[in-house]
Symmetry: C2
DNA sequence: CGACACCTTGAAGAGGTTCAAGAAATGTGG
DNA sequence: CCACATTTCTTGAACCTCTTCAAGGTGTCG
């Protein structure tokens, strides 16, 4: 079991700088290792948690790609986000000690399970962790403001352009190409997130392709002209 | 100055149960009184904070009504929420120690200024406060999920119905009528929040009025048939 | 290799926007 | 306190973007 313990350690994890506070002393780093109770694999298509389930833990994504979505009684479904390695999910569950959305793996994934009791306990002692937890939650709030702006005031082309730029930027921060990407989600899931129908997503991709802005081969996307995408999002301001 | 100190005390505030943790012992209650550094009046139309300003504090609304909105370089504007007495604003500023939205009073208001340093300090010692801060942030995340659902998948009538039901419910929790309300915001602000044009807001109000669901006199609204509003939001499920 | 899920494209239609004009309410200054 | 300016709200008509419905094509996985 020693091997397991070492495997689980945050202090050894190459994603640490993405999901954990940086600049900790050795003492605090060791305390952080108590955060992760276990690792948990999540098969593609299965859920990490579902709306209605009791909330116990936050999850740091180690590998894989997730979507989160909320569902209404009358069967409406809204994708609220796509999450990749180094990001934390489960924050929605804190307020009522019950999850309010579903987290579904879009590819085989593995997460670090961080019991929330323990997060609160340690963050009372490690100021950097406390601050970090607050920042993670605030960042999510700011992200959602951006989505509201997108959904409330942008047209289809602008939404998809903003979506692609956001994906590329996050992938680049993880060391991937800043021009090539493989979408892990369907057109329908993109459409749900962006408030448009899958046909509109497809048509908009085709238009970008005709205009030479991106190359589209099913889920393989090459950004040919990121500047043009930025101009689509932000028509007034010429970069 | 003693009078001031007494005035400021959370332990005497009748909004305490809305904005502060409940069920505290006397010792913890006294500690909470250190949270509020000052009160600050905000005149109608002026801002409590603006995007770009340094973040220092969260604000609990004592009296009045606010909107928060984000603005893009190219002049797009999106209302991200309406806040009333007992609610906390400023969470967006934590992540980058800088506000990312504007908070503007829609009527003369007064807020309790809670320096965030002090919140973090006290919440390290008062577990109930720590838990409460986490819940406030989580609640905001869940609220925004709801807005995303609204913006992403509802039609104009459904959006406005959901909006009215939400307002009424929050007002009722504050002891106001569950049928009468006075809108503090313009049609344009409602439209911005709901992702529709002010003309559409106006037309949708008129349609509700023709259908006998609500009475509309400018900003004075009377909910005649809340059940009907619920059916508009949730067409499948018959209540 | 065949079944199934996913994607693309076309054509018709609906919901919401845009533009425009006038009415009602609100605020301001004399 | 009243008159005028300004803001806000309502309503109509034409238009446009996105949706809906439909069909066929492409890719993927057991």
């Amino acid at each position: 079991m020693l091997k397991d313990t070492i495997n689980i350690a945050c202090s050894n994890c190459n994603l640490r700088e993405l999901c954990m506070p940086i600049g900790l002393g050795a003492d605090d780093l060791v305390r952080l290792d108590d955060l992760v109770a276990a690792r948990r694999p999540v098969k593609r298509g299965s859920s990490l948690f579902r709306a209605g389930e009791k909330f116990t833990s936050l999850y740091a994504i180690r590998v894989g790609f997730f979507k989160t979505c909320v569902t209404t009684e009358d069967g409406r479904d809204q994708v609220t986000g796509f999450q990749m390695a180094g990001e934390v999910i489960g924050l929605d569950g804190i307020v009522n000690e019950q999850h309010t959305c579903n987290a579904i793996a879009l590819e085989d994934a593995e997460v670090c399970v961080m019991p929330f009791d323990r997060i609160e306990e340690i963050s009372r002692e490690v100021v950097a962790l406390q601050r970090h937890v607050h920042k993670i939650m605030s960042r999510e709030i700011v992200r959602e403001h951006g989505v509201m702006l997108l959904l409330g005031s942008m047209r289809a082309e602008e939404r998809l352009a903003a979506f692609l730029l956001n994906l590329i930027q996050r992938l680049q921060a993880r060391g991937f190409s800043r021009s090539d990407l493989v979408l892990r989600m369907t057109r329908e899931e993109i459409g749900s997130y962006l408030g448009m129908k899958l046909e509109t997503v497809s048509r908009t991709f085709s238009r970008f392709s005709e205009d030479g802005i991106v190359e589209v081969n099913q889920r393989h996307i090459v950004i040919r002209d990121a500047e043009a995408l930025r101009r689509v999002v932000n028509p007034q301001v010429c970069h």
